[in-house]
Symmetry: C2
Subunit: 183 residues, 2 copies
DNA sequence: CCCGAATGAGACGCCCATGTCTCATTCCTG
DNA sequence: CAGGAATGAGACATGGGCGTCTCATTCGGG
């Protein structure tokens, strides 16, 4: 029928990224379907959020695959990763803040997988001597998520130009704000 | 009487930082007062959040003052700023995510003042030649907030040691993750 | 010591989002 | 073209949090 589960999830993500308290009715309208239909496919709001979580994890698994994190230097891989993640930055921003709600109870294992891949990437960079070892891989992982989410918000609010998304994140994350004579 | 408005706000902030959906009843219990008393002092949940916003802005105004943003180099001032902001990092993390809800309607002007001060600090650093000019002051401001919030979450989740708070933020923000031969 | 103000506990009623259900309609399928 | 499945719109009951109120109790100033 007209109902495309993944498209509905994407529409829901687009709305909830901006207004995390949106009603099921608002989500349904945003997706162009009836509230009843929304409930037929997602047992409830909770199930919808879980589905969004699954979608996000799937998207980022793919993004990670496309970024070929194992090829080239870790720095190069990181650049590719940010580029691949950009289309789903809003979804990430939503899920990161939403996850604060899941207080320990049954956190989706997918996040651990993603964390592990990002963490491994930073560790590889550290072993190769390209990434500082005084900043833990765990923190760099969190910081990457945080910066992506922050930049996604900044773009939505018009404080950062959309075209600068990748540059702002990568340059700050890798090079920092301080101006150095020679890197 | 026993009711200390500011202390109640601090208790509320401590709880809401961890569980942003906490009930008015939970907030009251966390503050050690009755729900009725809480309502007597704050017209409603919305008023409570606004009061928290005011508290946060006041705290950061003071933190900014204490950091003496105009003294020394911008980089030094930034270090002092992060140090001064640390005690209120959780509150900032809460307010930053909560502010996403205030969709344009009557945003507290205090944020603009704070933004202006941080932005001016980064611009000063750029003019002095210590801060990169290819990263806009607006983005650096957002990134600072984002990193502080992210690190606060990471500390709460135990992914970053509390004692490393300032170091992780300042070093990443200023120096970036990339290891350079000489700065 | 006394009196007034503030508090805590609880009882309501209200509102809104949720989740379920029905029924007419539309759409695909065979 | 006919039948069945899926959808949309709406009605309905429910729950939970919110806001208000009352009343007994406690605290503190005079």
């Amino acid at each position: 029928m007209a109902m495309d589960r993944d498209q509905v999830l994407r529409d829901a993500a687009a709305l909830l990224s901006r207004k995390s308290t949106a009603t099921m009715d608002e989500v349904a309208r945003a997706a162009g379907i009836g509230r009843a239909t929304l409930h037929r496919h997602f047992a409830g709001r909770d199930a919808l959020v879980r589905a969004l979580e699954d979608l996000g994890i799937r998207e980022f698994e793919v993004a990670f695959d496309n970024a070929r994190l194992d090829e080239g230097t870790a720095v190069e891989a990181l650049r590719r990763l940010v580029a691949e993640a950009e289309p789903n930055a809003q979804l990430l921003a939503f899920l990161v803040t939403e996850n604060q709600l899941f207080e320990g109870d049954e956190v989706n294992e997918g996040w651990a997988r993603l964390d592990a891949r990002v963490g491994a990437l930073f560790r590889r960079g550290q072993e190769e001597g390209d990434i500082r070892i005084d900043l833990s891989a765990a923190w760099l992982t969190e910081a990457l998520y945080g910066l992506v989410g922050t930049c996604a918000w900044a773009v939505m609010d018009g404080r950062v130009a959309a075209k600068d998304f990748q540059y702002m994140i990568i340059e700050l994350l890798l090079g920092g704000a301080r101006r150095s004579v020679e890197k």
